[in-house]
Symmetry: C2
């Protein structure tokens, strides 16, 4: 994961929020509680919850409301005397996150507001394998520009961006290898520097973070709240990546390159893979392998459409498609059984192009878990589709920006 630290704004004027100050800590504390609350809490409830005085909470809330981070919910009429207490919730008209994705056969841009709502989402379908990295990033910058115009028109300010790529990203934001895109050592930040800035500069929020798309998709699912604290999220596209969430946090590994499940060998002596190995999962369960096994190779279907088409044909009980999905599901199941034997996870989320196909992939996956996981008899594993499906990486990317603002609101407030 690469983080480009923005140029720091000039020293804040007297009275402004300085990071690390007590005021900054109180702002983050109160905003965090409002973000985590199931129902909009009142100022009194926040005081009781945080241990701050009523006066401090009121002052902090005033700052948060003035900075368009928090808004008052419509009061619900209540019985009894006195003015009804007004609940506080995250604002939908302040800062927002820009989420971007480059995949093998599409580009995506989306905007997520502080309240977690997706306010803009565009997918541009194109086979990016014959396109140079500079051109692909140029098209992405165009998509980002349009997202920014739309966000501004809705009264939102983009306060940072995150970009998901289907490959290995180093600390400098360079894509070391994206085998299915054919990218090797692509300096993404340099190439994007030729384009107008994608977002406003906000202290404490990097203008652009480059990350692996499977990691961002797993974060998207985690933030969506439907998955438990530990799960394996598999993104099935042309390539297959995974995000591993352990105890509520993404596990990135020694260099941030965990989750390369697509290159776990299913058959060690199988056909050669473009990664240099043999018999990798991608050769049996990647999108092109499924299309080819179903006799649909060369149909030239882009990612979303391929998945839609497969779903239609499977629904119509097309025998070759059913067979292809059963074979892919078996290969996924063999690999998932390895992961469960190793990590003892109890939830597997099928994401990306797999999400709509879960009905057909789940039975063979569960059958392999049943056969091969030593603890299967006592430790049932749930296999379910991703809530966000194919949009998870871009939504997760935008959500990761929003999470940074909520964790450190001082930078945003100092900017005003």
């Amino acid at each position: 994961m690469w983080q480009c630290q923005g140029v720091k704004p000039p020293a804040a004027p007297a009275g402004a929020v300085r990071q690390g100050s007590l005021r900054e800590l109180n702002l983050a504390l109160v905003l965090g509680r409002i973000a985590a609350a199931r129902r909009p809490p009142s100022r009194a409830a926040l005081a009781a919850d945080t241990g701050l005085t009523r006066a401090t909470v009121s002052a902090v809330v005033e700052d948060l409301v003035a900075g368009r981070l928090v808004t008052e919910a419509e009061p619900t009429p209540r019985a009894g005397a006195g003015r009804p207490a007004r609940g506080l919730m995250l604002a939908g008209d302040g800062p927002a996150g820009l989420g971007l994705e480059i995949n093998v056969d599409y580009l995506a841009a989306c905007v997520v507001d502080l309240a977690g709502q997706v306010r803009h989402h565009t997918v541009h379908r194109a086979d990016l394998r014959p396109v140079s990295p500079a051109d692909a990033l140029g098209r992405l910058a165009e998509l980002a520009g349009r997202a920014r115009v739309d966000a501004n028109a809705q009264g939102l300010t983009l306060a940072g961006a995150a970009l998901g790529v289907p490959g290995l990203v180093d600390d400098a934001g360079r894509v070391r290898l994206a085998p299915n895109l054919g990218w090797r050592d692509v300096p993404v930040p340099e190439l994007l520097a030729d384009h107008p800035p994608l977002t406003e500069t906000v202290d404490g929020v990097p203008p652009l973070v480059v990350d692996n798309e499977a990691n961002l998709a797993a974060l998207g699912e985690l933030h969506a709240g439907a998955a438990p604290g530990s799960f394996l999220h598999i993104s099935g596209e042309v390539g297959i990546g995974a995000g591993i969430v352990l105890n509520g946090a993404l596990f990135r590994g020694a260099r941030g390159w965990s989750g390369e499940i697509g290159h776990i060998p299913v058959r060690p002596d199988g056909p050669p893979c473009r990664c240099g190995g043999r018999g990798c999962l991608e050769l049996y369960a990647g999108q092109e392998a499924i299309l080819s096994a179903a006799g649909l190779a060369g149909a030239d279907l882009p990612a979303d459409r391929a998945s839609t088409r497969l779903t239609q044909l499977a629904t119509a009980e097309h025998p070759a498609v059913l067979r292809a999905l059963a074979e892919a599901g078996t290969a996924i199941g063999v690999t998932v059984a390895s992961v469960v034997n190793l990590l003892d996870l109890d939830t597997v989320v099928l994401g990306g192009g797999y999400a709509p196909l879960t009905g057909w992939l789940r039975p063979p996956v569960l059958a392999e878990i049943e056969r091969r996981v030593l603890t299967a008899a006592w430790s049932p594993v749930t296999v379910r589709p991703a809530t966000l499906g194919a949009t998870a990486a871009a939504v997760g990317a935008a959500g990761s920006v929003v999470r940074r603002i909520i964790a450190r609101p001082g930078g945003w407030l100092a900017r005003l």
Copy 2:
């Protein structure tokens, strides 16, 4: 992992240490710093390090010395005026941990003192597959009794025990499944209750913890300090288990059943495994598979001897043994490549019977990593033998008891 909480001792007399009290916290703080220090720290250094006053440190140290948890190092003569400051170190004559292991072809008992020294170690070789669980545990209790007599003769007091078994243990200490022992639903704590208590009762230290032996072996390596904060430790016996250490802590999984690497399929359509799966790693790289491939099946060599014999024959360049080790190394390498693709770990420790064979196993393991790990070009993986080798599980078990006393010394001190 099962923890049998001991019967609480009678209420502590006035002035004794109560858990959770400020005094207990200070005792744990000071003892922890002494345990972690590279050189015996003086009282003054401890005061500077902990932020406690000199007087508080002196009082706390007095309690720790009186309780045989800490001792003064021999003063080193120094130039200059004044009495030389005496360094403080963990005592080697106070409480100790009892570590036990049941494996397929041996039983082991060891005693580790507070300073981490192994003070007693016995291995009893026997094929335990034809023996009933009750009889095997009876023999183990005998071994534990002898360890206790030896520990007492050395002035040590056993303050808790941990037992490693090659299988899945539930929260009640029941062995749900140990495929290679042929155990299923064995209530270890009940069966051991017929024997005299293995250790003294100490508040806060469970008299017996039952855990997976591969987990305990990984903890042993972690405590031995030779491995980095994240690594995969593979215990190669008749069965193959793994302990996964992430950021300095054992990763146990949803139910504590992580690390079942022996049942990761190497060839999904391979021969049936006793676990119910097919083509599991154990069938290619378990001790019996190696002996059989080397033409030594039926030689009836117990675990330690099998490993020694294989090492002798490999050193003498016995062709069938070299071939068998190369094949086993390739199977381990295919599996390790999956783990590294998934978790991005940079260190693999070969433990148990694999430790002395590392010279022959490492090249094929590294070759498979090189071929199959997507990030291999930028992210080198170190493969090295375990420091503790075949004794790791019992030593790790005893060490885990000692760690509990260091983390909460109040229970031990209250007992005196």
